[in-house]
Amino acid sequence: MRNIYMIYGVIVLGLLGMAEYRGFSLASVNEVKNVPRSVRDNPGSYRSVYAVYHHYTGGK
């Protein structure tokens, strides 16, 4: 049990170190490849995957 926990803990801390060094995040981000350079000249031509988001307009 002791050895299993030792190995488990080392793996957890190793993953933590890698996550911190590589800058992992829990945020939901969509990666898009090959966005055309023309987007700088015509920003409206880019369609975000989040553009159809249904916004909360409530309040209490």
Partner: protein
């Protein structure tokens, strides 16, 4: 507990004295020579005075072992602590707790040079037991009565009236069926101290928990020992040693985790690479999206923290963000809503949401990037001012929290199992926790 194997050098068979039962004439064998005080005839169940040359009949009983026979036959030989012993006697004893009988078996073992010792068995749990040569010290004023013996403290577990319900073979005392003694057990797993009070005489013995599998091996018994049922009073917990060790290791991991947290915080560049302030006119029906000036992300692949600060007031703004690598065309696309509402009702004042937002974009490689921003909100709500800030290489403390929970979970689980084991142990005692006593002793009527 040291139990020696019966083979390859089985102990030499002691000489057996042949006698005949005066009650039925059946042949009797006396294995413990003159040290036996009583011997029981297996045929007519007469308890005979082994010290009397005429084998005077002391008692006759008619009970049979029935469906609860001895698991180790008389005459079986094996080694305990390197010493050969022979099973010469067997008795079944019974206590009644709340009207329910609980029986256990006791085996009398004999070695001509070492004398007698005993094996006890209850529900597949075995103990190697020997009488004490010195008296334990009783601490009757402790919150839970304890006794000290050879520097070890034993906690009171149970006191009950035990009666002998079946006997067979030889015994170094005047055994009688129906004889009742007050038996008190004190435990310090894997050992148990037992006192037996008979009139004014108290006999102390110490038992040590023994694995049935080891015992079967030591006595070369056929088949498998009965599977232990439940948790026995002095059964060593498989978790207690682990619990202490696991928490020690957890402490070391926690220290290392804190060092990592300080190290990553100190070494993180936490560098602001972009900042821009903008205004979104919700009255405008024109194209709202725009791109920022390019900015450089240096160093190794790491997170980019994007913060949005707004002046929304009972309003919201949704920002479609795209972080685009100018050279490769790779984009990180995400949306953030910032909303803040407040008011006053019968419960008093309330607020909901926040004017600020922050998100970490994971694993962004170095390069030249720009942001495409597309704000949205309800039409004709005036102007919304917002500020966008990007920081490179910001430590993500949420992962330290996740790692802490991941390290804590196994330690907590083992501790819970250890506590549950002790709970089950003490549930059978005179000191049962309130919930277990109601479970086991409750009267449904």
């Amino acid at each position: 507990m040291v139990v020696g194997a019966g083979n390859p050098n089985p102990p030499a068979a002691p000489h057996v004295k042949a006698l005949n039962c005066p009650g039925c004439g059946a042949a009797l064998s006396l294995r413990s020579f003159t040290q036996a005080v009583t011997v029981v005839c297996d045929s007519c169940h007469s308890i005979l005075d082994a010290q009397d040359p005429q084998l005077k009949i002391l008692q006759q009983f008619k009970k049979a072992t029935g469906e609860d026979p001895a698991l180790i036959p008389l005459g079986t030989r094996g080694k305990i602590r390197g010493t050969p012993y022979e099973v010469v006697g067997f008795q079944r004893r019974t206590i009644h707790v709340e009207g329910i009988p609980y029986s256990w078996h006791e085996y009398v073992l004999f070695n001509p040079y070492k004398g007698f010792r005993y094996l006890t068995e209850y529900n597949g749990h075995w103990n190697d037991t020997a009488t004490l040569r010195a008296l334990p010290t009783l601490n009757p004023y402790a919150r839970q009565v304890t006794v000290n013996y050879l520097g070890e403290t034993y906690r009171h577990f149970q006191t009950a009236q035990a009666s002998t319900t079946y006997v067979l073979g030889e015994f170094p005392w005047q055994v009688r069926v129906g004889e009742a003694n007050e038996v008190t057990d004190y435990i310090s797993p894997p050992r148990v101290l037992s006192s037996e009070r008979s009139g004014k005489e108290i006999t102390w013995s110490m038992g040590e928990y023994l694995s049935g599998r080891d015992l079967w091996k030591a006595f070369a018994l056929p088949g498998e020992p009965p599977m232990p049922i439940g948790v026995y009073e002095n059964q060593p917990s498989p978790f207690s040693a682990n619990t202490k060790t696991i928490w020690t290791i957890f402490g070391a991991f926690l220290a290392f985790l804190l060092i990592m947290m300080v190290g990553f915080s100190a070494s993180a560049r936490d560098e602001q690479v972009f900042q821009g302030a903008y205004t979104f006119d919700t009255n405008s029906r024109g194209e709202a999206s725009f791109v920022t000036d390019p900015f450089e992300l240096k160093g190794h692949t790491s997170a980019l923290e994007l913060s949005t600060t707004t002046n929304v007031d009972n309003n919201w703004i949704y920002l479609n963000y795209a972080l685009i690598n100018q050279d490769t065309g790779q984009a990180y696309d995400f949306g953030r809503e910032v909303s803040y509402y407040h008011g006053y009702d019968s419960d008093g004042s309330w607020t909901e949401g926040s004017r600020n937002d922050s998100v970490a974009i994971p694993s962004v490689p170095p390069g030249t990037y720009f942001l495409r921003v597309e704000p949205e909100s309800d039409f004709a709500h005036g102007s919304i001012h917002y500020e966008v800030t990007a920081k490179r290489d910001v430590p993500q403390f949420s992962f330290f929290g996740i790692a802490l929970l991941a390290l804590l979970a196994p330690a907590a689980l083992i501790t819970w199992r250890s506590m549950n084991f002790e709970h089950l142990r003490w549930a059978e005692s005179d000191h049962a926790p309130a919930d277990s006593s109601s479970d086991s002793g409750g009267d449904d009527d």
